[in-house]
Every structure is written in C-alpha cells, then in structure tokens.
C-alpha cells in the first residue's frame, strides 16, 4: 500500500516537474514571500516544479507588506525571494535589501522577455510576470433592464447608480474597496491621477495635493461612497467581492486579479453569467483612466548567499517564462509572459493600457503619502470636516513623517 502511494506521489510530482523544457535543476534553499491571490499561487506552484534538489518553502500572506522589510533586513535574510509590485519594491530599494540580477538573467533567463525586466539605473532589480489594475465590473442584466449604457466615466457611474437606486432594485448599487487605510488611499491615488494630479511638486518630496484637483477627487470619492453600502469604510476587496456575489451590487471597481474568483463556478450562476468586465472609468473630463497600472514581479534578497539566489532565480525564472502555465491559467491574470493569449477576463487591464493609464508612482516617499491619505481623509468621507481641511491634514501628516524619514 505504502509503495503504491509513493509511486503515485512520484508520478504526480514527476509530471509537474517535467512540464516545461528549460529547468536547470538548482540546489540550495529557496524561500519565497508572496501576497495571497490565485495567480501568485499558480506562479509559485509552477516555480516549485523546477526546484531540483533545493529545499523549497513559500509563505503566502496578505500581510506580506508588514513582513517583508524586517524579514529581508536580517542577515541572512529569512526569504531568498519576495514577489513584489510597483509599490512594495520601493521600501526594498530604499533600504537596499534586494540584489541586481543582470548576470543571472544572462545565464538562466532565456525565456524571459526584455519587457518583463524592471530596470532601475540600468540594473535589473525585478522580473515582472503579471499586470494588474482596478477597473469597472457591471451587471449586464440590471443595466439592460433599466436602459443604462455601460458607464465610461465616474460621472456616468454616479448617474447610473442613482438611477438603479431610484428604481428600487438595489439600495447600495456601487462598491469599491474603501476600507480605511491602504485600500482607501489607493482609491484616492487612482482618482487623483484620473484628475491629472501630481502628488509632489516637480523634483522634490514636497506634497502637492491640497489643490482643486485634490478637492475634486475627494468630492467624487464621497459621491461614490454615498452610493455604497454604509459600512464601506470597513470593506476591502474581499468584502466587496462577497457583496457582489450576493447580488446586491451592480457596479464595482475592483482589481483585475480578482476577476477569476468572481467568474468561477461557485456562487449564483445567474449573477456570474451577468457579471461583465470593462475598462477603468475616466473622471472630470480627463482622458487618462482614474486607475493605476501595477506589475507583480519577483525580486531576490540581498542578504542571502549567492548560491541560494541562483537556485531561487532558476526556479522563479522557470515560472516567469512558462508558456504552459500562462496557457493553463490564462483566466487567472494578465500574464506578461510570452505565449499569453488574453481572454475575456483580461479586458480590464488591456483597456487600461490602451487608454494610457499611468503606472503607480514608484517614488521613495510615495509610501508615506499613501499612509497619510489612508487615515486622514476618513473624516471628510464621514462628513466631519471639509475637503480642504482633510487635504491640509494629509499634507501635514505626510510632512511630519517625511521629516522623520529624512525626505524633507
């Protein structure tokens, strides 16, 4: 019995390990820190298929941002690689915690396309494998029934939501991740960029949000919030996904990477069938979308031995150039890997790129601004203070933090 089990296990793992051609069997120790959503799990699982004799460990956590800097600061670092994004690579760069991988790319990165390489000052610091953005989701049946065209701007989103509410079909027809903190700040960033705003005065770390564009951004956020579930300040992406699946929402701004779980077989088939995706909306007459483009890619820890870095790179590069993975998991993400054929679920990201969406600002002090936004604009949304006061508070909170961090 035991023998059969072992043979079976070997057969299983054997097939995944040989699924793709190039994998130069590394040895050493591989330990990966990553966020927790389906596409990343697929990615890491594919990398595991090329672990060779190496010891392979992975930590998937939605709290990855909180662990990353302390874990990579230790020497030797707890993790040999960290799956990062535009924003989360910044603290790693600020603290000098990741290593350039030009020579590894040359040696083992055959299948990786040039467009996947994140280069900073001419050095490859990360290899991207998927793109992400927040865009609109809508309920085709509800919009059709009320004769509402698919909204292209946030003004139309507001009008459509008001119409749906007036029809009595839904009390709170709009949803977005407005949870106080990171999520809410991210919505502000999107909307502010949609209004054509720049977060800092050119070439400095001085804040630049207390202006007409900032006020317009806040007012739009408040209008949308008034059309959402009254508990919006406690709802993150997962919570609004649940709201959508319970059929209480007809318009929603959500990450592209969540479309897979939204459109899977679980839940009410009628809602799933009527769930449609479209590009991100513009706002205030602007022509670039009120959304930011994101990439997810892997970085290698600096405080780890060269041999571990090499082993980790081999395994992760195997996944980052894996045609079979992008074909099998085509609906989980918009892969940047060669051979990816975009399906209906990637429409949001593709539209965003077409419309000229800007990437999330990769600036050393942006994290501080994001943090200040997340806590200081809450009172405006609750109706406790004016937009000008809220923006003044954000700037003041940011300035004290930036001074402490030596940016100002």
């Amino acid at each position: 019995m035991r023998k059969i089990l072992i043979t079976l296990l070997f057969a299983l793992f054997g097939t995944t390990a040989n699924a793709d051609g190039h994998c130069s069997k590394p040895s050493g120790s591989i330990n990966i820190l990553a966020n927790d959503f389906p596409a990343l799990r697929t990615f890491v699982e594919t990398a595991k298929g090329c672990k060779g004799s190496a010891d392979f460990k992975v930590t998937h956590s939605s709290e990855h941002n909180k662990i990353a800097v302390p874990a990579l600061t230790a020497n030797p670092s707890e993790f040999s690689a960290r799956i990062a994004a535009n924003s989360s690579i910044v603290p790693l760069m600020n603290q000098d915690l990741i290593r350039p991988m030009d020579d590894l790319v040359k040696k083992y990165g055959k299948g990786i396309q040039d467009s996947q390489l994140i280069t900073i000052d001419g050095k490859v610091m990360a290899v991207a494998f998927m793109a992400n953005t927040q865009h609109l989701y809508y309920r085709e049946d509800v919009l059709k029934e009320l004769g509402i065209p698919v909204p292209k701007t946030y003004e139309e989103v507001v009008a459509a939501s008001e119409k749906i509410r007036a029809s009595g079909k839904m009390q709170h027809p709009y949803a977005a991740a407005y949870k106080a903190g990171w999520n809410l700040a991210e919505e502000f960033v999107n909307m502010f960029i949609g209004h054509g705003g720049e977060f800092f005065k050119a070439g400095t770390a001085e804040p630049n949000i207390n202006n007409a564009k900032g006020v317009a951004t806040l007012n739009m956020l408040k209008k949308l919030a008034s059309l959402s579930n009254p508990d919006y300040l406690t709802h993150d992406s997962e919570a609004i996904k649940v709201e959508w699946e319970s059929g209480k929402v007809a318009l929603m701004t959500l990450w592209a990477s969540r479309s897979g779980t939204l459109l899977d077989d679980e839940g009410d088939a009628k809602i799933t069938a009527a769930t449609k995706l479209t590009g991100p909306a513009t706002v205030g007459g602007g022509n670039i979308p009120a959304a930011t483009l994101w990439w997810d890619g892997f970085t290698l820890a600096k405080n780890r031995s060269d041999s571990d870095a090499e082993a980790t790179f081999i395994a992760l590069a195997h996944a980052a150039s894996n045609k079979k993975m992008v074909a099998d998991a085509a609906d989980q993400a918009v892969w940047l890997v060669e051979g990816f054929v975009p399906g209906p679920k990637s429409i949001g990201v593709i539209e965003a790129v077409k419309m000229g969406a800007k990437p999330y600002p990769m600036l050393p002090q942006m994290g501080l601004m994001h943090g200040a936004l997340g806590s200081e604009i809450v009172e405006f949304l609750q109706g406790k203070e004016s937009a000008e006061q809220a923006l003044k508070d954000v700037e003041a909170a940011y300035i004290s933090k930036a001074k402490e961090q030596g940016f100002l």
Binding site: D121, N229, W295, H370, G371, S375, A397, Q405
Partner: protein, 342 residues
C-alpha cells in the same frame, strides 16, 4: 521574610524582568530621540513593462556611508515628540491663536492624530473600567448566592468571554453588526433606516467597542471578586443578619470593606489593560472611526510601507508615561495605606 531571603527569591525574576522588559524600554526610549538620516536621492532611468521614466531613487552608496557613521540615525532630541503626529506643540499654539471659541479649539486639537487617539483611549478607559468592576462584582455576588449544584457550569459560562481570543470575539461581533449581518440588518428594520450603519458612525463604533470591552473584561473582575468573596468571614455577616441589617447594608458595611484591596487590584489591572486597547480596533476594522495609542504604534510600524521607528518609539514612551499618570492616584493611595498599616 528577611530581606536577604526575599532578595534571593526575587533575583531570577528581577533579572528576567530587566532583560526582557527594562532593556527593551530603555532601547525604545533611546530610539525615540533619533530620526532617519537625510535621504540622498538621485535621478535615474526606470523601466517597467509600461515604459521608461526618469525618476528618483535613494542613493545607496551615499546613504550607507551616513549609516555606517551613525547607525542610530540623526539625533532629533524631542523633535519627534513635539511634531504634528505626536504632541503637536506648534500646531496647538497656532490653533489657540487662530480659533475664536474654545469648542472650535478643542475640535482642532482632537483632529490631530495623537490627541484623537488619546481621546478615544481615555474614553474607553473611563467607560469600561468602572462598568467592568460593577458588572464583575454583581455577577460574583449573584453567583455566590446560587445553589452550589449549578454554580460550576454557570461560572464556566460566565468566564467564556475571557476564554475566547479577543480577536475572534470581536470578529464574531463585527460580522453580526455588519449592515448585512443579523444585528445590523435587524437594527435597520427596527429603525426603518436602510442607511443606518453601526460601523460608519463614529459614536456608534465607539459604543460598540466599549460594550465589547465590558463584555470581554468583566469575567476577569468576576473571577477575582468571586475568589475574594469566599474569604469573607461568616460570623460578622450572621451577626449583622441578627441585628436586622438588609442585604444591601451587609454588602456595603461588611463585604465591601473586606474585599477592598482586591477591588483596588482589579481596578489597577483593568486600567492598565484598557489603556492599551488594541485588538477590538483591528477586529472591528474600526481604524476609520476609533484609534487608540496602541493602534498608532502599530500603524507606524506596519501600516506604512516605510517603517517609522522614531514615531513608534515616541508613542510607546508616551503610552508608558500615560499609564503611569493614570495609575498614580491608585498607587499613591495603596502606598499610604501600606504605610499606615505598618
């Protein structure tokens, strides 16, 4: 016990306390006087899948020279303590000059993060501590009067809130009071207001957290009071009954004076615990409406992508000072009693 014996008994505990409590506090204190070095940034070309831009990064070579020279950072003295995100001395004096009425001044001050957090923390302490004492005492008295047969299961039921992990307890309640949850939805029905939300209104959030706090902490007070009630001598109580004292009079004049030291102890512990209120804020996702001092520290350490060690250390030190101030009256009183007792 002779002082010498006491010293040897206390030595291991004392050493461990110095190592794991004393030294970290000192190190936190030192940390709070330092800020990061001035960041040396340079312009570089950045390329990603969406195109290339010229942008800035931290110049690692220049920074590492600075860091090697002074690993602790730039000496900032009380700079972090008085900045806007903490005591905000400058801002407060400005508000004093600018505002016309006192109410407006208070409004401005409680809009500052530290005072906002302090206000919630103190409110929480002031409402939770007395109610915990009162409720704990009432439960202990009632259970003490009940037949011994059913007392066991009842005691177990009563201390359940304390057994449940704070985070789990608050999460359960969090889902129940959601606008779609059992309590939230029923409240909306009862009040006939579809926009009513316990979680979006600041006052209602505060009330929810305070009620949760009372629910969670009462069992502790109950357990201690119940144990103390077992030590109340029966003779004076019986004598009082013969004298015709009512139940209230017996409690007021015999039981309470007897367990008084225990009441002080529970009050002390509750105050300390409540001043560090933290889990319910995370559990209820109440960051938007309620922030405590402990939450501020947490926020500085983890919520930003850049960790603010100086800020967190300064808030920690002020929390310690805050607890000391809050406990001072009780401690002084205990000390005085101890002196007179000798």
């Amino acid at each position: 016990m002779p002082n010498k014996t006491f010293f040897w008994f206390f030595l291991p505990t004392g050493l461990v306390m110095i190592l794991f409590i004393g030294l970290p506090i000192i190190s936190t204190g030192i940390q709070s006087f330092y800020a990061q070095h001035d960041q040396v940034v340079k312009e570089v070309k950045k390329c990603d899948p969406f195109g290339c831009t010229v942008s800035i990064v931290v110049d690692q070579e220049a920074t590492s020279i600075l860091r090697d020279e002074k690993p602790l950072g730039k000496f900032n003295g009380f700079g972090t303590y008085v900045d806007r995100n903490h005591l905000a001395i400058e801002q407060i004096s400005d508000f004093w000059k600018e505002t016309e009425t006192f109410g407006e001044f208070i409004n401005q001050v409680t809009n500052l993060p530290f005072y906002k957090a302090l206000l919630f923390t103190l409110t929480y302490c002031l409402f939770v501590t007395p109610n915990v004492l009162l409720l704990g005492f009432i439960i202990a008295l009632s259970l003490n009067a009940i037949s011994r047969k059913i007392r066991g299961p009842l005691i177990f039921g009563t201390i359940l809130p304390m057994i449940v992990t704070p985070l789990v307890g608050s999460l359960v309640l969090f889902w129940m009071i959601d606008a779609e949850g059992i309590i939230g939805a029923n409240l909306q029905l009862m009040m006939e207001d579809p926009y009513l939300s316990l979680k979006s209104s600041r006052t209602l959030t505060w009330i929810t957290i305070i009620i949760y706090g009372i629910w969670h902490h009462s069992p502790f007070a109950f357990v201690v009071f119940y144990a103390a009630l077992q030590t109340v001598p029966q003779e004076p109580v019986e004598a009082a009954i013969i004298d015709g004292a009512s139940r209230y009079q017996r409690i007021r004049h015999i039981v309470l004076p007897h367990i008084y030291p225990v009441v002080t102890f529970v009050a002390l512990i509750s105050l300390m615990d409540n001043f560090r209120v933290f889990e319910p804020i995370i559990g209820f996702s109440a960051e938007g409406s309620a922030q405590s001092l402990s939450w501020l520290i947490y926020d500085n350490l983890v919520n930003e992508e850049v960790i603010l060690f100086g800020s967190a250390a300064a808030t920690s030190m002020m929390t310690i000072i805050g607890i000391a101030i809050l406990l001072a009256p009780v401690l002084i009183r205990t000390w005085k009693e101890f002196r007179t007792a000798r």
